[in-house]
């Protein structure tokens, strides 16, 4: 049993996630974990994390190229709040242009001040691991 599976089952046992969420996570693991050409697993941990300070993006390449980015969560929050101050006319134009391209969603509705907090809190549960067939690894997580 892989570490990821153990982690998911432990979260179910601890009551941190529901059986449905666990099924979805295990499904995501199953799709990427069969040793195919490239292994990609995306986990959305449902366990609540507190005091998250940084968004980390870590790239480890087998050729020796490494990228390590650390962005303060407070900066993300401030950026989202800043974008919420953009005049509504601008959002209407953006939404109209996106609708022309076939993307129908309202950015203005997405960035209401109350939603920003919820969005940032939800981002804390984001955890993405990508393991490529050639050994390259990409991790996006909060700490």
């Amino acid at each position: 049993m892989s570490e990821d599976r153990k982690r998911i089952l432990t979260m179910v046992a601890d009551g941190k996630i529901t059986a449905e969420e666990a099924e979805r996570l295990l499904g995501a693991l199953g799709e990427g974990g069969n040793g195919a050409a490239g292994e990609t697993s995306a986990l959305q941990s449902a366990s609540p994390k507190k005091d998250l300070k940084y968004l980390r993006v870590v790239v480890d390449s087998t050729q020796g190229d490494n990228v390590n980015v650390r962005v303060p969560v407070a900066l993300l929050r401030a950026g989202l709040k800043l974008s919420a101050l953009v005049p509504p006319q601008v959002y209407q134009k953006v939404s109209a242009n996106m609708a022309e391209k076939g993307m129908n969603f309202d950015i203005n509705a997405m960035l209401k001040s109350g939603d920003v907090e919820q969005l940032v809190e939800s981002m804390g549960e984001l955890n993405v691991d990508v393991n490529a067939a050639n050994g390259d690894k990409v991790r996006v997580f909060f700490e």
Partner: protein, 95 residues
């Protein structure tokens, strides 16, 4: 109270080139920022009164912008290439 970044450290090196490091003591700009804020904030506040009906909020925008700048503290970017052909290293730290 949230303070803006005090120091920015940029480091570039690699290959046969001599690495260089740049320390930018942004803290020295703080007095200028205070003066700029003292001038701009009242103007933006007055402008907000007249423009808020149109959805333009310069005062709030200025406050949000300053918050974004202040929250840059702790940002760290490191890119390293160790391939035999090209060895490069770029890093940026904001304190």
């Amino acid at each position: 109270m949230i303070f803006p970044p005090a120091l920015i450290n940029v480091e570039v090196g690699g290959g046969q080139r001599k690495p260089w490091r740049l320390w930018l003591p942004v803290i020295l700009l703080w007095p200028l920022l205070v003066i700029a804020a003292a001038i701009l904030l009242p103007l933006a506040a007055v402008a907000e009164v007249f423009l808020s009906a149109k959805g333009v909020r310069p005062f709030s925008l200025l406050i949000a912008l300053s918050r974004v700048v202040a929250e840059l503290r702790g940002t760290q970017v490191e890119v390293t290439s160790k391939s035999p052909v090209k060895r490069d290293h770029v890093s940026l730290y904001i304190f």
